[in-house]
């Protein structure tokens, strides 16, 4: 398609590079598959992160709210484990965690996507736990006292009074965590997870042209994040609307 010696206009150059980056050999399919994997990993990691986060937050809050002289040793032990988990995960870079999971703990696994989702989920859980714990603690202490003074037990007070109020405080921060998670899935390409950035890097290595694949990738992430931000905004407005009544 290009003849030696012929001068090309800027437009032609753009077209050729764009063609190479996205269209030649149906490369757009690689990107599309990458986006699919990105969304799948985000969803799995988010789910795992929320499950872990809720468990850790509930154990830690329950531990902190015990009456003096009524310390439960099992809860104490669990709380210790949770604290170590949060400290280690928050204290080490995500990239290092991925490399350790991919090349040390699951070195023999070929399912890079699942290893990536697992690592991201475990990572997200530590942050989600703190978000949820913060939300639970942001509910006025008088609410817990009122529930308990009526003779409700701790679990019922949490379930009917504290948690429903905490959710409203938690959602904006949780939405933020979700967006961070979506972008962090790009890191799993370092252990071979075939997500969006992996596809872009594949194209770069074949065409020796970095600009279009990487900028295209950036645009895809941006569009995804803007889309989800918009959805979260609608969701939050709806929650607040039920507030005013």
């Amino acid at each position: 398609m290009m003849v030696a010696g012929e001068t090309t206009t800027a437009w032609q150059k753009f077209y050729v590079r764009f063609y190479q980056a996205f269209i030649e050999g149906n490369r757009w399919q690689q990107y599309l598959n990458g986006v699919g994997t990105t969304l799948l990993v985000t969803a799995l990691a988010l789910l795992l992160g929320i499950i872990l986060g809720v468990i850790v937050a509930v154990v830690r809050t329950a531990h902190d709210q015990q009456r003096p002289g009524h310390r439960n040793p099992v809860l104490g032990l669990l709380n210790g484990i949770m604290k170590v988990y949060v400290t280690v995960i928050r204290g080490t870079p995500m990239m290092v965690q991925l490399l350790i999971m991919g090349f040390v703990i699951f070195a023999s696994s070929r399912n890079y996507v699942m290893v990536g989702a697992l690592t991201l989920g475990i990572n997200s859980g530590a942050y989600t736990a703190e978000i949820i714990r913060g939300g639970l603690m942001s509910v006025d202490i008088g609410q817990m006292e009122a529930g308990r003074s009526l003779g409700l037990n701790y679990t019922d007070t949490m379930r009917f009074i504290i948690v429903p109020q905490a959710i409203k405080a938690i959602l904006p921060a949780l939405g933020n965590e979700f967006i961070v998670l979506l972008k962090d899935t790009s890191l799993i390409s370092v252990i071979g997870g075939k997500e969006l950035l992996y596809a872009a890097r594949g194209v770069v290595s074949r065409t020796y042209e970095a600009m279009y694949p990487y900028i295209g990738t950036a645009i895809v992430y941006l569009v995804l994040v803007m889309g989800f931000t918009w959805l979260l905004g609608i969701f939050e407005r709806r929650l607040r609307a039920s507030d005013r009544r």
Partner: protein, 240 residues
């Protein structure tokens, strides 16, 4: 009914209650007065163990509240509490606020609880608010609902922690009226308040608390018009 034996409560190095012993009888309306920081609220909150005493014993209906083997939730069901800041549950309707505890503790079925709640709401003149949310009510209305919520558990005693201190002056009366009616019905009440008028008019007994000890106590007339201790004299001079 409630026996307080050598109750001491410390927050860190601060001794808020110092070896207080007291007895509250069935059907009595006991009003606790005293300067702020004297330990009034802490004393009240120790009665249903919202604060854990550092030492001493609370015996309610012959059962030691402070014994670690006591089912504290069961005991609290018989001991209603009304808070300064109402502490209604903002995520529920008024009716749900009132019926949640009796239903969850299996004291009543849903229908029984709703019927009882409507009865009580009528008594305080707020039956039309059953489906409203706390945010739609005035302070005085919220506090009357809070009293109904406590009453719906059919408690043997009601604890009031400065129930009118967070109210606009014009709403104090409506709450005090409900409390007066309860006292007239023979409800056992322990009230921490700054409303000296209420204390004089309704209390069977007034306790004056200062620096963690009961300095003086007696029937309201004697206490207010013939105070013995210098501390109470200077306190009354400031508040009356």
């Amino acid at each position: 009914m409630i026996d307080v034996k050598n109750l001491t409560k410390e927050f860190g190095s601060l001794k808020v209650l110092n070896n207080v012993s007291e007895h509250i009888n069935q059907g009595e309306c006991v009003v606790i007065i005293g300067p702020s920081g004297s330990g009034k609220s802490t004393f009240l909150r120790c009665l249903n163990l919202l604060e854990t005493p550092t030492s001493g014993e609370i015996i309610f209906d012959g059962v030691s509240m402070t014994d670690p083997n006591t089912d504290i939730n069961k005991m609290r069901q018989k001991m209603g509490m009304v808070f300064q800041h109402f502490n209604l549950f903002p995520n529920m309707t008024i009716l749900k606020n009132i019926t949640l505890a009796p239903v969850r503790t299996k004291l009543m079925t849903r229908e029984q609880a709703a019927a009882e709640a409507m009865n009580l709401l009528k008594r305080v003149g707020l039956a039309d608010k059953a489906d409203a949310y706390p945010a739609q009510l005035s302070g005085g209305q919220k506090q009357r609902i809070a009293i109904v919520r406590a009453l719906c558990m059919k408690p043997e005693v009601l604890l009031f922690d400065e129930p009118t201190s967070a109210l606009d002056p014009e709403m104090v009366g409506e709450v005090l009226d409900v409390m007066k009616a309860l006292a007239a019905d023979g409800m056992t009440m322990v009230v921490v308040t700054h409303e000296m008028g209420f204390a004089r008019e309704v209390a069977n007994r007034v306790l004056f608390l200062d620096e963690g000890v009961i300095v003086e106590q007696g029937d309201p007339h004697n206490l207010f018009y013939h105070p013995q201790s210098e501390r109470l004299k200077s306190f009354l001079a400031k508040v009356l």
